[in-house]
């Protein structure tokens, strides 16, 4: 292998000296390179062949697309104002409560999922909770909770809190796993109890990141709260869904613009908070 590579390198150098320089390929091994290329082409052909498109329906939709663009030029905030305000209020309250509850619940799970401070059975249990919460999309979890708790923002809040647990606990556990162990030892050497160790050695080290991540998760939860309304879990998503099925594109455009504005605001402030804590 190395002899082959050396031969290739010297051939390359010779070609470069004759003015026929070529850049290094991204994937070094030619077998892999060609294999991936051919596999990609075969996949593309198979995939494109299996995609069924109803072109007549697409052509029909062109007019609607123009309607849509027109609606974005003239969004209608007024005629469904009450619905929009109610939906937004629900989304925002859902976002806040679910983030608070989710972070509070994520802290014990995160402590349990850190290998260096928790016993093995607890570690496995907490990792399992994290895996389940992270694999399923919020909307799938929302379907189940809507069946259990009925339509409305409560189901949405529980969904978002559940999703928050997985996200926060995983990152918190990783953070705890690579914290500076000397401080823990120092606090333990003073004869501190478990609580005191957590409070004075672990918590100060992970707190800045925890705050930053919570703010980031607040931002994500708002985006998700705009979606889970589709399956009946309340929030602005329900309003958006209704306006689309009523063909009121100008109202949908208004809602989308509001979502974009709020997300921008969240993102801007969350990047500020993160810079401030770190």
């Amino acid at each position: 292998m190395s002899a082959q590579a050396e031969a290739l390198a010297s051939a390359r150098a010779q070609a470069a000296r004759q003015g026929r320089w070529r850049r290094l390929p991204l994937i070094e091994n030619p077998r892999w390179r060609w294999g991936i290329a051919i596999g990609g082409v075969v996949y593309l052909v198979l995939a494109l062949a299996s995609v069924e498109v109803n072109w007549a329906r697409v052509a029909e939709g062109a007019g609607r697309a123009l309607n849509f663009l027109g609606a974005f030029m003239q969004p209608d905030f007024i005629s469904r104002q009450n619905d929009i305000v109610a939906g937004l209020l629900e989304s925002l309250t859902m976002t806040l409560t679910s983030t608070v509850l989710g972070v509070l619940l994520a802290i014990p799970v995160g402590l349990g999922a850190a290998r260096n401070i928790s016993p093995l059975p607890l570690y496995l249990l907490c990792r399992a909770i994290i895996a389940v919460s992270r694999t399923f999309q919020e909307i799938i979890i929302a379907i189940l909770f809507v069946v259990m708790f009925g339509f409305g923002p409560l189901a949405g809040m529980i969904t978002l809190a559940f999703a928050t647990i997985g996200f926060m606990a995983k990152l918190l556990a990783e953070d705890i796993e690579d914290l500076d162990w000397r401080q823990v030892e120092a606090v333990r050497a003073t004869g501190a109890s478990w609580w005191q160790t957590m409070n004075h050695a672990v918590q100060p080290q992970v707190m800045p990141r925890l705050i930053g991540l919570s703010v980031y998760r607040l931002d994500i939860n708002f985006r998700e709260s705009a979606v889970i309304g589709i399956v009946g879990a309340g929030g602005i998503g329900a309003t958006l869904n209704t306006s689309l099925s009523r063909y009121e594109y100008d109202t949908s455009a208004a809602i989308l613009l509001i979502i974009i504005a709020i997300v921008l605001l969240c993102e801007y402030s969350s990047s500020h908070v993160r810079r401030w804590t770190q």
């Binding site: 995939a47 329906r57 939709g61 999309q137 909307i139 409305g152 409560l154 974009i260």
Partner: protein, 271 residues
């Protein structure tokens, strides 16, 4: 350091000044009242009658889901293939569109600040709208089907890939770029030989990462009619065939695990 004197005239250490302490109390009070206010809004909009029997509903649901109806898996291979196609083709189209946008949005390669802000606008609006909402819009425009799903995934991926890629472009080393431009290379040649080789590993990593996320997202696009296994999920839920739903859940779980493993392996090999 805030130090006050005890009545005996000895200095006593405090963690915070009195002012900071009061400010902190006020912040906690404000935060907790805001939380309680939000909780009240939610509680007013909730039918507590339905919540009371949540436990019964939950166990009822579980008993209907188990045992899964395994024969149903045979119906699911085609929708699963569609889901994979939505994710893969969508990612491919998305990164093709994200590539030029990222170059226009990076501070060191953009032709003009105005172009930069336009490109940033594209990235932000693509990122802030969830792919399900994109799919809802596209289903009304293009009609239900795989095509709407592919385009929804592509539109959502532009923002994600574009943002990470333009940050990677802004962090490149300037010396190779200077060296190439010193040879008298044109703007495009500088991009091609100075910038591109530096961002290629990051680009491949980002694309695979996004593909992994897109697999998860494409499993639910069918809920709004955009093709894939989500269509079957929606149909099974509407028929209250919960033992089919559990088969679909298991299938999604397995697919997501596999795609996550592949993506982790590829990223590990690149970086």
């Amino acid at each position: 350091m805030p130090v006050s004197l005890t009545p005996q005239g000895l200095p006593a250490w405090q963690r915070r000044t009195t002012r900071a302490q009061w400010l902190q109390y006020a912040a906690w009070l404000l935060g907790i009242s805001l939380f309680l206010l939000c909780w009240k809004v939610i509680s007013d909009n909730t039918m507590w009658v339905f919540v009371e029997d949540a436990g019964r509903q939950g166990s009822d649901l579980l008993s209907r889901m188990l045992p899964p109806r395994w024969e149903y898996a045979n119906v699911l291979w085609k929708p699963m293939w569609d889901t994979l196609n939505i994710a893969t083709l969508g990612t491919a189209i998305g990164i093709m569109m994200a590539f030029p946008v990222a170059f226009l949005a990076a501070r060191n390669t953009t032709p003009h600040p105005l172009v930069r802000s336009a490109a940033l606008m594209v990235i932000v609006s693509s990122r802030s709208i969830n792919s399900l909402i994109w799919a809802m819009l596209l289903v009304t425009i293009l009609g239900p089907g795989v095509l709407a799903g592919i385009i929804a995934i592509a539109l959502r991926s532009i923002g994600f890939v574009g943002k990470l890629l333009y940050e990677a472009i802004e962090e490149i080393h300037p010396t190779p770029v200077e060296a190439i431009s010193a040879t008298g290379a044109s703007r495009l040649q500088v991009m091609n030989y100075g910038v591109l080789p530096q961002i290629m590993p990051a680009f491949a990593g980002i694309s695979v990462y996004r593909w992994d996320i897109n697999i998860r997202e494409s499993t639910v696009l069918g809920l709004v009619g955009a093709g894939g296994i989500g269509l079957q999920l929606n149909a099974s839920i509407n028929n209250l065939a919960w033992n089919q739903v559990s088969v679909i859940f298991i299938m999604i779980f397995a697919t997501v695990l596999v795609s996550e493993w592949i993506s982790a392996r590829v990223r590990h090999a690149i970086i």
